[in-house]
Subunit: 123 residues, 2 copies
DNA sequence: TGTTCATATGAACATCTATTCATTTGTTTA
DNA sequence: TAAACAAATGAATAGATGTTCATATGAACA
């Protein structure tokens, strides 16, 4: 499967500065543009400390907004804004009970995504 | 493992607006602040379409900077800047061959991280 | 119904990030 | 050694993102 890139490069690059065939072949194998945007958006959710903290908290148990805020020592507003993002990406769900709204993880394997990240960080 | 949150909330919230015990218990279980920052930084790398595209390209095979740029129809400079980020996070490695520098994935399970992301997106 | 309380939301602001453009570095080869 | 070339880098800019502050919504209860 692996081809002799060096040779290709020597052959082609001297005259035209890039490998037309190679470029076309790989370009043809790329997933659709839209999928790649969705994928980036998905990872964007995990790319913020506040949201990661919220997810870790909810990994332990469901919680209301003010308790999350207290736990993370942040304002209710900041948490609420971030919960909206998590909600939009379907990472959390919620249920109302009187004045209080309880948030919890929407998906069981959110924990495994976080774990895989930690795994990579610890070599 | 799951406790009766509703009851706890009813008991405590009326008087003090939050659950001191609960908050302390969960706060004590959080991973260290620094780990959470590292984790966010890790996911940040995948949170950009250009970097995802580069990783997908390198998933097929190693490539020089100008070919990556041609494949993605972007400038050499933009790609080079992003490769620096990927390099700093140890996601890509490179080898020099004359004037050309070939980049490749540093780690075999980068593909599985991307796959897990896609999996989640497709429900 | 009016007040209280938990949460949501909008605007403003500060910070961060990705790309571009111009230039530099470092290697090859004429 | 000078020219050509691949890649890297720095400064500038435009756009995105997270938090704060003030306010709105919507449910409970007096």
């Amino acid at each position: 499967m692996k081809r002799n890139i060096e040779k290709e490069h020597a052959d082609v690059c001297e005259s035209v500065h890039h490998h037309d065939e190679l470029v076309e072949r790989i370009a043809g194998r790329m997933p659709p543009e839209e999928d790649l945007y969705d994928l980036a958006d998905f990872f964007k959710v995990f790319a913020d400390t506040t949201r990661i903290k919220i997810l870790y908290v909810l990994l332990c148990q469901e919680m209301c907004v003010c308790d999350i805020a207290d736990t993370l020592k942040m304002t209710q507003s900041a948490i609420s804004h971030q919960l909206r993002v998590l909600k939009q990406m379907d990472l959390v769900k919620f249920r109302r009970e009187g004045k209080t709204i309880f948030y919890s993880l929407a998906d069981d394997h959110i924990g495994s995504i976080l774990s895989q990240g930690l795994e990579h960080i610890n070599e």
